[in-house]
């Protein structure tokens, strides 16, 4: 199983590591039982564009690299576009991921989606990530559990 040079670069030099204290939205997905946990904090401006992202990740090389690159990809995007980022786009952006690691990119995109919905909820607005997720085969109306479901499924991938 080999990681691309770009994965190794983002693993070794992760971008935007940390926590935004006065974040507008926070997403935390994954489960230490599976060995993967990602927390992402975002700042969103008046035009619903993401101006800043920071992440923290406990996980394997792919989990850290996908977290890192998703913060780069989403920076400056509208929240609508940000929640549209697919796990495939993340993997492609990294020059591919080993099959056994594809689920890690789900962790990153899910984290972002949860953070956006958190931002919307805080402002009494309708969550939008769920709607996006419905295009996903694993769709589950309750976005949060859906995320958990994916995480759980990730566990299975580990067995």
């Amino acid at each position: 199983m080999l990681y691309s040079d770009k994965v190794m670069d983002h693993f070794n030099n992760p971008r935007n590591v940390g926590v935004i204290d006065d974040a507008d939205g926070v997403g935390e997905v994954g489960n230490p039982v599976c060995g993967d946990v990602m927390k992402i904090t975002i700042k969103v401006d008046a035009t619903d564009h993401i101006t800043e992202l920071k992440f923290q990740t406990l996980g394997c090389g792919a989990a850290i690299a996908t977290s890192s690159i998703v913060t780069e990809m989403a920076k400056g995007m509208s929240i609508e576009d940000a929640v549209k980022i697919s796990k495939r786009q993340v993997a492609d952006e990294l020059g591919g991921l080993p099959a056994a690691k594809m689920h890690c990119s789900v962790l990153a995109t899910d984290g972002l989606k949860v953070a956006v919905d958190d931002f919307l909820k805080r402002n009494g607005r309708e969550p939008i990530a769920g709607v996006i997720l419905s295009e996903d085969p694993n769709f589950d109306p309750h976005a949060e559990e859906e995320t958990q479901a994916v995480a759980a499924e990730n566990c299975h991938l580990h067995e």
Binding site: M8, G35, L58
Partner: protein, 409 residues
């Protein structure tokens, strides 16, 4: 090695290489290479051929068999069967003894320890599919299988018990002599996967009383793809690899004369150097253990005071994920493992660590360091210098470390 260079990798830019994964595999010792080479190019005959070249190969094969038999204290060289891998010996023993034992009218109950290598667990699962009743025997937190725990589940119908001699992840050494004796009390047969133990701990087939044992050359500075199945005379055995009837009809396929010669030579070297080498390795291993335990939220897996392999240390490093730690160390040329490297690209939390009671979130953060023939004090210094900052960095990146273990790192 053009393949290696074909694509730049962290390791290629490495200042130095510090190999600390001798339990995964070992380099072939130059003396072993020298012993095996003539059988590739010069004495290349098929040992089953009657002419001179064949007889020369036959003699070399039998000389290797006798040397190996002496090395493991077998009563008779005919009990040494050369195989194509450690996994082959494990498969052949578990499937072959259970099936033939049942056919002989012995029961259909099989016991394997739950921290066996997959090369034992998978055949055990296959036996269960075939209608055998398979019981998994759990090790205790100390990393050992206890004979009284085996006694508690042995039955008159127990045909086979397989418990590894030294665990490949923990390095803990099981009391196989007692376990074999207990198994024999109910008339069962005892197999041990001694792949990690061979050449490192006292091993005498007659004395320890096992009925079968598996060995693999690449764990003791021999080539990959060469193994031995020790099968005590009279042990029921359904032959695993069938065909031309080589190895006295116990394992078919043209024998790998060079490989057999290499394995015998590798074992000779292990035994000749063990007395001086073991204390050296134990000192290096203990430096690793003590050094890592300096860091907060770390623990040695398995009890410290139980019998252990001289070179193997397995530690839990809470709040980090093993692969990330492994890759960070690899950037600096340090090769270690997390979980079992024998399991293809697999990253599941080690079934061995779960078996001794670790929580999954803890098992994900295990570090296995194994020192060997070419490990120096400087190598250990280098590991102990480079590891702590990596741990701190990864813990700092974790969203849960502070929550789970308090920020005291």
């Amino acid at each position: 090695m053009q393949e290696g260079k074909s694509e730049p990798t962290m390791s290629d830019a490495t200042p130095r290489t510090v190999y600390l994964d001798y339990a995964a595999t070992t380099p072939v010792d130059e003396r072993v290479v020298t012993a095996m080479l003539p059988f590739l190019t010069e004495h290349y005959g098929n040992p089953n051929s009657l002419y001179g070249l064949g007889r020369d190969a036959y003699r070399a094969l039998e000389a290797a068999r006798e040397s190996f038999a002496r090395g493991i204290g077998a009563a008779d060289p005919g009990e040494v069967i050369f195989t194509g891998a450690g996994t082959e010996g494990d498969n052949a023993a578990v499937l072959g003894i259970a099936r033939a034992g049942r056919a002989r009218g012995k029961g259909d109950h099989v016991i394997v320890s739950s921290f066996e290598h997959h090369a034992i667990l998978e055949p055990a699962h296959r036996l269960a599919k075939e209608g055998f009743e398979v019981t998994e025997l759990r090790p205790r937190e100390d990393g050992l299988i206890h004979t009284e725990d085996l006694r508690a589940i042995l039955r008159d119908s127990t045909v086979l018990v397989s418990v590894m001699h030294a665990n490949n992840e923990l390095g803990t050494i099981q009391p196989i002599k007692e376990l074999a004796a207990a198994t024999h009390e109910v008339g069962g047969y005892f197999h041990t996967d001694a792949i990690q133990a061979l050449g490192k701990v006292e091993w005498n087939a007659v004395d320890n009383g096992v009925d079968a044992a598996s060995f693999s050359a690449h764990k003791i500075y021999g080539p990959k793809g060469v193994g031995v199945l020790y099968l005590k005379r009279g042990t029921p055995f359904e032959v695993y690899m069938i065909g031309g009837g080589q190895e006295s009809k116990k394992r078919s396929g043209t024998q790998n004369v060079a490989g057999a010669t290499a394995f015998a030579k590798a074992l000779e070297l292990m035994l000749a150097e063990r007395e001086t080498e073991n204390p050296r390795l134990e000192a290096l291993r203990d430096r690793v253990i003590d050094g890592v335990l300096q860091m907060p939220h770390t623990a040695l897996n398995g009890a410290r005071d139980v019998p252990r392999l001289p070179g193997t240390a397995n530690l839990s490093i809470n709040g980090v994920e093993g692969e990330a730690m492994l890759l960070r160390l690899d950037n600096l040329g340090i090769a270690v493992s997390t979980g079992s490297a024998c399991s293809s690209g697999s990253l599941e939390p080690s079934h061995v660590l779960l078996a001794i009671g670790l929580k999954p979130e803890i098992a994900h953060g295990s570090l296995r360091v194994t020192v060997g023939r070419f490990t120096t004090d400087a190598d250990v210094d280098y590991l102990l210098e480079k590891l702590p900052p990596i741990i701190e960095l990864l813990r700092a990146m974790s969203p849960v470390y502070a929550k789970m273990f308090g920020a005291s790192a």
